[in-house]
Symmetry: C2
Subunit: 336 residues, 2 copies
Amino acid sequence: MALKASVSVHLHGEFEVAGGTLPNAFTAYQVYGDPTNPCILVPTCYGARLSLSSEAHLVGEHKVLDPRKYFVVIFATFGNGESSSPSNTAAPFDGPRFPYCSYEDNVRAQKAVVDALGVKKVHCVIGYSMGGQQAYYWALMYPYLVERVIAICSAARTSIHNRCIIEGPKYAMIASKDFHDGEYKSTPRHGIRAFGRSLFAWAYDPSFYREHLYTMNGAYLTAESFFVEQSESYWLQFWDANDLLALLETWQRGDVSQVFHRGDLEETLGSIHAKVLLMPSKTDPLFKVEESQMEVSLLPRGELQVIDSLWGHFAGSSVHSPDIEFISRRIDTFLS
Amino acid sequence: MALKASVSVHLHGEFEVAGGTLPNAFTAYQVYGDPTNPCILVPTCYGARLSLSSEAHLVGEHKVLDPRKYFVVIFATFGNGESSSPSNTAAPFDGPRFPYCSYEDNVRAQKAVVDALGVKKVHCVIGYSMGGQQAYYWALMYPYLVERVIAICSAARTSIHNRCIIEGPKYAMIASKDFHDGEYKSTPRHGIRAFGRSLFAWAYDPSFYREHLYTMNGAYLTAESFFVEQSESYWLQFWDANDLLALLETWQRGDVSQVFHRGDLEETLGSIHAKVLLMPSKTDPLFKVEESQMEVSLLPRGELQVIDSLWGHFAGSSVHSPDIEFISRRIDTFLS
């Protein structure tokens, strides 16, 4: 069965977010399966689009998140261009005036959707990268609701180094000659390219390049052609520059320990009652395996399964079949 | 004794480089000690300036490169603003029209200085980062002259990943709103900032931030203030944007195996007769310890001493005293 759920939209009306108040906020989502089945929530990662089936590698018949077995709800993160974003919000909160939305705002909005769908128990929240960070927020903010959490290539808080890394692509966009402080009239191609090159260097570890995996089975002759194409084409084709920055800020400021514990991560993780499965990638330069090891030592019911992959941060995404298989098997065991 | 050698300039006249012909090329250098002492050559790293004593932590009385014991010659790399560079070359080769200079060009130019100084034997070529890459070129291009090579936080060729990394800061500068294709009339501050943030994220490993070493003993309160200041202030104060890009290209295209062996690194390293000491930093994100391990396995007379440091790429520079001490001791043993 091909994955072809339509995108639904939940209207929040006036909705407070960390950076202000949105008069007409909305959350885009997709549902799969029967609402009487155990519920699985999937918040999306950076760059994900529901309309592009970004999570299709995990959801579908004969896949680990089988709609015949689970009721799966996928949420678009604020700023992704489908939920409320700079690009789809009316003045005076359009473009660069769009207020900062935290992970907390996202999860509060997603909770409203879950309530509207009549869900009383969440079997698991599963997320990759920014999605995994939201899964952590779910466990903390709605402990009575959430039984399990799976965070893939992710972290409870964006590491200090990761916060610094993000300064590169962010400022590259802002400083570019066609971004015009976010008031561009056509796609700021220079800005998006500078952003993309600066960010994409962090997707893979040197070992990925050393082993020539960038050829993608012959699709690319050189690392440079792979790098340039992969770092810009998707953003140029599908993304708005202000959206890219809005979502980047949510990522940069992610820290689940700020919700209730004033930055005390030990106390925060110690308070999570849900079962938690962490699956870092051995070669992820952004969400390091050491962070997940530290987190699992603080979680009362944590489990660590390292993805032994050369595919860096993308080991947790849809690009490499053996990694998808490993992740699927671990999810399956963890959910039953 | 404070390190206060004046900067000398060797005029090459018309000088062919990889990207064209410079009508009046010159190499800036400094000498320390008596020319009858064993000769040590020190090509500089990215960002180094002779006038700012960038190598002062290794050269001086009671330091490992003691001028009473050695005849030390430090060379400014083309593009650093002291040797021929976009910023100090007359039209028609000024600014963005400055031709690409390879490491081979640099070392050929340095050899002319060495000849002019009457040096007949080079006891050791020592370099950090880009300086270490040039040291490799010395060993290959002038095997009869060079007895020893020390490469600190460096590599015989810029790794594929490193080449991709450089695309970020390079394009961030080029795409910036004040770079104007290199024809700027005043310092392109936005461009330099975007360049700096994109590059500086690669200086340190996450462990450096995790252990809060960015406070620099209390000088910085937050990682962000450290990151912003350290990534831009030096470049903004001392550097020309076209110089930064020229030097970046030399780094990006560095590959000693292209000199004689059409890219065959195994054959290239196998042909190096000089004794070689490699000192990678355990936490260097740019020149990975794995690369040095691979290289030493291919060198007939190679030795590996890993700097066990949390100071990333800068473990090989002047910022962290314990690393300088370790490096100095290893250099001392290797030279005697």
